[in-house]
Amino acid sequence: MKFAKLLEIQFQGYFLCRLATDPDPTNEQSGVSGYTMALVHEDPLDQVIRTQIDPDFAEKNLREPAQRMKIRVGVDVCGVTFDGVTSATAARALHGAKVSLRGKTPPFDGPIFDSRNNTVGSDDNMMFVVNPFELEIRGEHVVIEATDHLDPTDPTRQIWQIEDPSVYSRRLPTAFQPNSQAAAAAIRVFDGYAYFRDRRRFLEQRIGELEAERARGGNRAGLDARIEAMRTRIYQLELWGDRVIGKLFFQLTYSFNINGPQRIAGAEHLGGEVDYDHPWPVTFWFGAWDGDLLTGYMQGTLGIPFQPAPAP
């Protein structure tokens, strides 16, 4: 079957990525010479793009003041349309569905922004491959899965083994916006300098509070570590300045037709017939990157060739 019209599933939300940044090597776990680091009480930097996190992970790795800022890490479905018009049945079925990126690329335990310091991608040009790309949209009754292969002729090949990078050039960003209105609007921040000035003031205030707690006889070793961690955050903001601030409004757009397996469990809840035989187009952007919190925003659309069931 060939359906031209698409059921479009829109999704958006904050993601978290504990990545190393140049000039640290890609797989740096502590963070030394780039502007990102794993603070002593956090998990190591693992480069993984997380569109969903559990409370324990958030407790350990989502830095303050993210909670106070009401930043909730979670990319969710926010709308479903068919041929541009809201599809009530499908929207009901996918209401609140969670969007995840699955899979792993060894030695990393999940999908990453892959470049290997200007080897398979480019840090300088923000040309990262989201690797691997295994999309999952999980609602209460519907689970949609779609996998794209870097090299469809040999899905087992790792990116570093591919001698001709034009094989996966479709997986590179199609557009890069350093100053995106969409990114700014997504996070409701329009003045990057003020944003990070406030962050710095917050960190200094917290250092003062923790020092007072230490003076009152709190756990010295733990408080010392937290104070020093905050000092390191301030050090990074001071050292890198515009490099951090400038990332707040960037938008990196990807767009390709998914070339691998496509599955839907519970498809009957969508209210129509799905075309599994032809590639599903996906477009998404990552951006609005807060290099101190290690969070950013993702927005995208998965298109599924579809034919609604006739009305009863």
Binding site: N118, N125, S166, A175
Partner: protein, 494 residues
């Protein structure tokens, strides 16, 4: 030692100027690798002698050391840019360490008269030493402005860098237990008659400090006719856009040469810098201050791994460590060959429109890929690998063999213009890594790790380095054949 030293003679010929720049290039590279050695020795996690709070300070020190090392790379690049502007060959050769640089040798620096006493700069050797108080104090001294400059600027005086009659230089603390061989000079033989150059007093006739060397280079550029000096092709200047605090810009004449030289001394010693400028000297001084405070609060604090002083491959007993040491030096030499060829053959990317894309291939391999993804991770793996002597882990010696040095001093050699030379070297790197990867796969790394907790780092890193080296070699070939790869082309703005 005499109380006064004759003012060094001026550089009056282009050949002398080129020789002086070669000396400057060697100093910048030697400083850089000492800073890298110390940086790579820093711990990557807290342990029983480094609390979580102390580790945050260690991390910041590592960040600063690597920043300063990058800055020295920038200086090395700018000096080579100057050589290129003069139509001279690039110079990435240097002597091996340990070495006593002539520019940090007391007898080449006049003592200074301070009220009430005479202040004498101490000998500062070039050595490889793990990060500790002695090391950071030595780095402060290496970057310190002269005593009169310090007094004039109001900067803190690093008293351990200067001796007085009441408090002589702490020889052993700064210079190590042994005297080190003196550095060679490219300039001296050109300044003096051959007979005089052989005399020990000849040392006193050349610029005595690094600051003096750069001052004299700058003066010579203004003194000598510009049309005779700047004979290099200005369109062939290596250019790297400003990022990560590095500024490598084209040098095409007196004005841009001035900017480069003033940048070098401002960033290093803070000469003519704005108040409170974070020069290398100030950054190191602040680290030293923080370290002293931490040690006072906790004398057991240890920020670094037990790397040996002045490592040498023949002292390594552990087989894996020995292989790593050999691999590191081979890889580092490959990088220097690559940079030599790049600076000799550079063409802007936009002007490379047809096969062979030689310059582009070298450029895309040299910086992020080789420096960040091969050199540094290898050094970090070594720092966590037991050397087999019972006391130390393994330090990279950055050793250049006589064959390496000969090749570096012949940038025109046909090998350095041939992509196959570089591809062969990458194939060797991958073969050596493959051998180590098999040892890893067979569980042979456990005996090599410093301690059990280091095994995951070594295991993970070696595999990753192998993969990346394979990809870099592949890119080198592909770019040479077809030009820029898709990932290096900027995506359009939406």
């Amino acid at each position: 030692m005499s109380a006064e030293r004759p003012k060094p003679p001026k550089i009056t010929t282009k050949a002398q100027l080129i020789a002086a720049l070669q000396e400057a290039s060697e100093i910048e590279q030697q400083l850089m690798i000492q800073y890298l050695y110390a940086a790579f020795s820093l711990k990557k996690r807290p342990d029983e002698r480094c609390t979580a709070a102390q580790y945050e300070a260690v991390r910041r020190w590592g960040s600063t050391l690597l920043l300063v090392a990058r800055s020295e790379m920038e200086h090395l690049a700018l000096v080579n840019g100057l050589l290129s502007a003069l139509g001279a060959q690039p110079w990435f050769s240097r002597e091996n360490i340990p070495r006593q640089s002539r520019y940090l040798l007391t007898r080449n620096m006049a003592p200074f008269k301070a009220p009430g006493h005479e202040v004498t700069p101490c000998d500062i050797p070039f050595v490889f030493e793990r990060f500790n108080l002695e090391t950071i104090q030595r780095f402060v001294c290496a970057e310190s402005p002269s005593y009169p400059s310090l007094v004039q600027s109001g900067d803190p005086i690093p008293w351990w860098c200067f001796g007085t009659k009441e408090r002589p230089c702490a020889g052993a603390a700064l210079a190590g237990a042994a005297a080190y061989p003196p550095s060679r000079s490219h300039l001296l033989p050109l300044l003096a008659a051959p007979a005089a150059a052989a005399s020990p007093d000849a040392e006193g006739i050349a610029p005595g400090t690094i600051q003096e060397l750069y001052d004299e280079i700058q003066a010579a550029i203004h003194r000598l006719p510009a049309a005779e000096l700047f004979t290099g092709d200005p369109s062939r200047q290596v250019f790297v856009p400003i990022e990560y605090q590095i500024n490598i810009f084209p040098i095409t004449g007196v004005e841009s040469a001035d900017v480069a030289l003033e940048l070098i001394v401002e960033e290093g010693e803070g000469i003519d810098a704005p108040p409170d400028y974070q020069s290398h000297f100030r950054r190191f001084y602040d680290i030293r201050t923080e370290m002293v405070a931490l040690l006072a609060a906790d004398p057991g604090f240890e920020p670094s791994l037990p790397l040996p002083m002045n490592p040498s491959q023949d002292k390594i007993k552990n087989e894996v460590a020995c292989e790593l040491s050999e691999l590191f030096n081979f890889t580092y030499a490959t990088l220097l060959f690559l940079l030599t060829s790049l600076y000799r053959n550079f063409q802007p990317a936009a002007s490379q429109t047809a096969y062979p894309y030689f310059s582009l291939a070298l450029q895309e391999a040299a910086f992020g890929p080789m420096m960040t993804m091969l050199i540094r991770p290898l050094a970090e793996v070594m720092a966590h690998t037991s050397s087999g002597d019972g006391d130390h882990t393994t330090g990279p010696s950055y050793h250049l063999s006589p064959k390496d040095l000969l090749r570096l001093e012949q940038p025109d050699h046909p090998q350095l213009q041939d992509i196959n030379f570089f591809l062969d070297r990458f194939a060797t790197i991958v073969t050596m890594l493959d051998r180590l990867d098999r040892t890893r796969g067979a569980g042979g790394l456990a005996a090599a790790a410093r301690e059990e907790g280091d095994l995951p780092l070594i295991d993970r890193q070696l595999r990753f380095i192998y993969e990346t080296a394979t990809a870099i070699g592949n890119n080198l070939r592909r770019i040479y054949q077809i030009g820029e790869l898709p990932q290096f082309i900027v995506a359009p703005s939406s």
